[in-house]
């Protein structure tokens, strides 16, 4: 698997309302359709932005995904995560 699968998840959840709702309703079921590994799935559901960024995910997508899906919409919390 590759960062591209991760980016597709982040993009879909960021910009597509249906995808975002599906992800929030049942993340595991939603993510099962994507070419990502178990480890990547855990990073995404755990909102591990720092590790996703270090794996090459676009920061535009890590930021968008956080703001649309994490729940807090907190920029401060996002920055703590991406810096961790």
């Amino acid at each position: 698997m590759s960062v591209f699968g991760i980016e597709q998840v982040l993009y879909d959840v960021s910009v597509k309302r249906d995808a975002r709702q599906s992800f929030k309703a049942n993340p595991e079921q939603f993510l099962a359709a994507y070419p990502i590994t178990d480890a990547e799935r855990i990073l995404i559901t755990g909102f591990s932005m720092g590790e996703l960024f270090r794996r090459g995910a676009s920061p535009l997508l890590t930021l968008g995904f956080w703001m649309e899906a994490e729940g807090s919409r907190s920029m401060a919390a996002y920055l703590r995560s991406v810096r961790s």
Partner: protein, 273 residues
């Protein structure tokens, strides 16, 4: 024939509009005034159309398709995002001139991606709404300057030259302005977010108003990323617009480094001599 009457360079920082109070009142006032000044100078040129060069931010274009450069040749709406006080919906467009630009480019070896209908994001939508009167037709041009693989700096400039030739070969009397949207230094979504680089920004603005495109083109992406952040890759949009007014002289209208808005905000004009 068509003529490019001038080129302008403005930021498209959403925080200016969605978090105005994050910045101090003086900086806020100066940035608002800078936008107003750009709008007034554009209006004084009496343009029929504006070619607005921007960067998609993984909004319109996802991992499934990332054009190196795209032009809207039909209906244009925007911005996609909601900003207080900024209208959304249809924008004035000029499909015939936009199509002419695309087809002129095809003949020269520029294989444009085209959108027959597009709702532009803030990078084009904010300048269009804030800097242009509603009757001015918007011709949106997206460059791969926000998401990798990035359009090369050289190609961005050469594309602007192609656009200029197309405008000049347009048989109708049409006044056009170019708007290069973006920058300057900003680290979007990166751990360094909030950092701005006045030294880098002033260097870019200096080259811009001196018409020294080659100095910008000589930068490597590693240098740009290091000195100005991923957001500074948007200087490609500046280069494209600069190429539409070759040999022009310019002025910096304003420069405001605002960490609270995570961006060094630069405004400039190039006017053909």
């Amino acid at each position: 024939m068509g003529v490019v009457a001038g080129a302008f360079f403005v930021p498209h920082d959403p925080l200016v509009f969605i978090a105005p109070d994050a910045a101090g009142p003086d900086a806020r006032a100066r940035v608002r005034q800078a936008y107003a000044e750009v709008a007034a100078r554009i209006d004084a040129l009496e343009p029929d159309a504006a070619i607005v060069v921007g960067a998609d931010h993984y909004i319109n274009f996802g991992p499934g398709c990332l054009p190196q450069y795209l032009i809207g040749v039909g209906e244009v709406c925007g911005p996609l995002e909601r900003f207080p006080g900024v209208p959304q919906g249809p924008l004035a467009s000029c499909p015939s001139l936009a199509r002419h630009i695309a087809e002129s480019g095809f003949a020269e070896g520029f294989d444009w991606a085209v959108a027959k209908v597009i709702t532009v994001d803030h990078s084009i939508g904010l300048p269009a709404r804030v800097c242009l009167k509603p009757h001015v037709a918007v011709i949106p041009v997206y460059l791969a300057s926000g998401v990798d693989p990035f359009l090369s700096l050289r190609r961005a400039y050469d594309l602007g030259s192609s656009i200029l030739r197309a405008v000049q070969s347009w048989p109708q009397e049409t006044r056009v302005v170019a708007i290069g949207s973006g920058g300057l230094s900003h680290w979007v979504g990166m751990p360094q977010q909030g950092q701005v680089s006045p030294d880098f920004d002033r260097k870019i603005l200096g080259w811009l108003v001196a018409g020294e495109a080659e100095r910008m083109i000589e930068l490597t992406d590693a240098q740009i990323l290091d000195q100005g952040g991923n957001g500074a890759m948007e200087i490609r949009n500046f280069l494209c617009a600069m190429a539409m007014v070759p040999g022009a002289g310019g002025t910096v209208i304003a420069y405001e480094p605002v960490p609270a808005w995570i961006t060094g905000l630069g405004f400039a004009e190039l006017r053909p001599r």
